[in-house]
């Protein structure tokens, strides 16, 4: 009998290893692909935006896909990161990597301040987080703070401008985020998060620490957005608070995530490549056509495919990495 048990365990382990290897190679392929593209394709800004949204959609996946909380104000962390980076670079003349650390710290501090929001459920959480992001924007863009944040007039960071270095830093952040999602999908912690999402009472009864799990996921998700915001500030180097706190950053990330399918690794990737790809082909000239298509897509998705593109496969019992 012990042999059977051992075989089953070894079997499970083999399957887990296969899954992790598959997931990791997808992540690696995306990162390497985006790295190679920079040498091949000349529109660097567009590629950079792809990397930004790939990372943001996965960052949102960490909190929405694994815990069910949908922060409409996700852009707040992105903006906090962008300004964390800018303030340190502008006032302390710090090197860019120190700025990145400040970006991470700013997002984490904001996330800790907003921790009480996790006590709210569903729609209340979504709206409250949106209000929080707006509040941070109002503070940073306030003309009264012009000496510190440059208020609504925007910041300029030409000292640290480094398109190549910042692009590869963004790629590194994307890689780390993808690995984080791979880990969540295949680890005990990720499983416990999904258990909390599906039924927090039962999960708590089985000894899962609900508060701890949600807090960690929230902080990780904020950290990703903060780092992406920081690297955005670094790469773009001239921007306004309207850009850093643009609600469409939240919207785009949410739509990409929902379109592809949350809780998976491929879903958000597909969402970004397909939708943001289309956006770059048709959307730039008249953004409103795209805004309309987006709106319609959201409505149809919620009504007919609430679990995203990957649910076409997962509903048939096929595992999607």
């Amino acid at each position: 009998m012990p042999d059977v048990a051992a075989t089953i365990r070894a079997d499970a382990r083999n399957r887990l290893i296969k899954r992790v290897v598959l997931d990791t190679s997808i992540a690696a392929a995306v990162v390497i692909g985006m790295g190679v593209m920079r040498g091949v394709y000349s529109n660097e800004l567009m590629l950079f935006n792809f990397v930004v949204f790939l990372a943001l959609a996965q960052g949102l996946n960490i909190i929405y896909g694994f815990t069910g909380y949908l922060p409409f104000g996700y852009v707040g962390f992105y903006g906090a990161g962008a300004y964390g980076f800018s303030l340190v670079v502008m006032h302390l003349h710090a090197p860019a990597l120190v700025g990145m650390a400040a970006a991470a710290a700013a997002a984490l501090v904001l996330a800790v301040i907003l921790l009480p929001l996790l006590r709210l459920s569903g729609a209340y959480f979504a709206i409250a987080s949106m209000a929080a992001a707006q509040a941070v924007y109002e503070i940073i863009a306030n003309p009264g703070l012009e000496d510190i944040t440059k208020g609504p007039y925007g910041v300029s960071l030409s000292d640290v401008f480094a398109p190549a270095f910042s692009y590869y830093t963004a790629l590194a952040i994307l890689g780390a985020t993808l690995l984080l999602v791979v880990w969540l999908r295949n680890s005990r912690f990720g499983m416990s998060l999904q258990a909390i999402r599906d039924d927090s009472v039962s999960a708590a009864m089985s000894g899962v620490s609900v508060v701890r799990g949600r807090t960690i996921a929230w902080l990780l998700s904020a950290l990703v957005a903060g780092l992406v915001g920081g690297v955005f500030a670094w790469h773009i180097s001239v921007f306004y608070p309207d850009t850093a706190f643009d609600l469409s950053v939240s919207i785009f990330s949410t739509v990409f995530l929902l379109f592809g399918g949350a809780t998976t690794l491929c879903g958000p990737l597909l969402g970004v490549f397909i939708l943001y790809g289309i956006y770059n082909v048709i959307g730039i000239a008249v953004p409103q056509y795209f805004q309309f298509t987006y709106g319609a897509l959201i409505v149809l998705l919620v009504l007919f495919l609430p679990n995203g593109l990957v649910s076409l496969l997962t509903n048939r019992g096929i595992r999607v990495p």
Binding site: L70, F72, P116, L117, L118, R119, L120, S121, G122, A123, Y124, F125, A126, I127, A128, M130, A131, A132, Q134, A135, E138, I139, N142, P143, G144, S200, L247, I251, T254, L258, V286, Q288, Y289, Q291, F292, Y294, G295, A296, L297, I298, V299, L301, V302, L303, P306
Partner: protein
């Protein structure tokens, strides 16, 4: 200055009650959040502007037209979207995303059709010169808008408490399932409530140029946060609590603008977060916090 701020706050509060009322009615009856509420308000404002600049119609006439048209627009939207939405696993959450999509569509179509410019109506339409109210001089247009809002709120009250359909609506608010079991045509009652809600947003839009200054296609999101703040303060799902929420909101907004004007835009956001965290059930209580 203090009394002035408070009186102006009450005038504004009546208007904000109108802004939030429709949103709260839909939430109370259907347990969904219509995030396109602010965009219907914007459409009401555009309609008033168009009716005035093309036909010279007085805003009051426009308001009556808007009510009829918006109710008729609201009914099909309800039947197309809401019954299917309510069957889903987490309709409250999904409604937020769905109506957000609708809001984006409305904003895009309006921008494509009319451009992103600001539109306004001459305030003299609603009376010339200021009016003195307890020693405070307020533009007549403000008073007029506030009175119109108060009338609309009163009509909703009469509908809910003095008509048969209103009684049925309140029954659905208490429990959708039990109302269904009693034989109430829940879908029809909800559809009418939805139509009324859209019409209320439209009427609020007609007066928006006088109170808020102008109408732009992308004003919806900000209005939504305001409306949500108003109804959360006043108690979600309780249409009459909205009146209290509106007045609290209006008065605090005016106090902020009087004493701390550059930070006034922070107010709806902070008020919303604070109320959600400290007393999420609003002033008249109803539990919303589960997690």
């Amino acid at each position: 200055m203090l009394t002035g701020a408070i009186i102006a706050g009450i005038v504004f509060g009546l208007y904000y009650t109108l802004v939030g009322l429709g949103l709260n009615l839909v939430f109370g009856v259907m347990r969904i959040v219509n995030l396109a509420h602010g965009d219907f308000l914007m459409l009401g404002g555009i309609a008033a502007w168009w009716l005035f600049s093309s036909f010279g119609l007085h805003p009051l006439v426009s308001a009556a037209l808007v009510i009829v048209v918006f109710v008729l627009v609201g009914l099909p939207i309800y039947y197309l979207v809401v019954p299917r939405l309510l069957r889903s696993r987490d309709s409250e959450m999904l409604s937020l995303i769905l109506f957000f999509g609708l809001s984006q569509m409305i904003e895009a179509v309006t921008t494509i059709g009319l451009g992103a410019t600001e539109r306004s109506l001459p305030p003299r339409l609603l009376g010339v010169g200021p009016m003195v109210l307890l020693g405070t001089r307020l533009p007549k247009a403000w008073i007029f808008s506030a009175v119109a809002s108060a009338v609309a709120v009163l009509l909703v009250y009469l509908y809910l408490y003095r008509t048969r359909l209103g009684t049925l609506t309140r029954a659905v608010m208490v429990s959708r399932d039990e109302a269904l079991a009693t034989g109430i045509d829940v879908n029809f009652v909800s559809a009418v409530a939805f139509g009324i809600s859209i019409a209320l947003a439209g009427v609020a839009g007609v007066f928006a140029p006088f109170i808020l200054g102008s109408i732009t296609p992308n004003m919806g999101v900000a209005i939504n946060i305001t409306a949500f703040a108003v109804i959360v303060v006043g108690t979600l799902g309780n249409p009459l609590g909205t009146l209290l929420g509106g007045i609290i909101y209006g008065v605090s907004l005016m106090l902020m603008q009087t004493y701390l004007s550059s930070w006034a835009n922070l107010l709806p956001n902070l008020l919303l977060i604070a109320v959600l965290l400290i007393r999420p059930e609003g002033i008249f209580g109803r539990k919303v916090r589960r997690a």
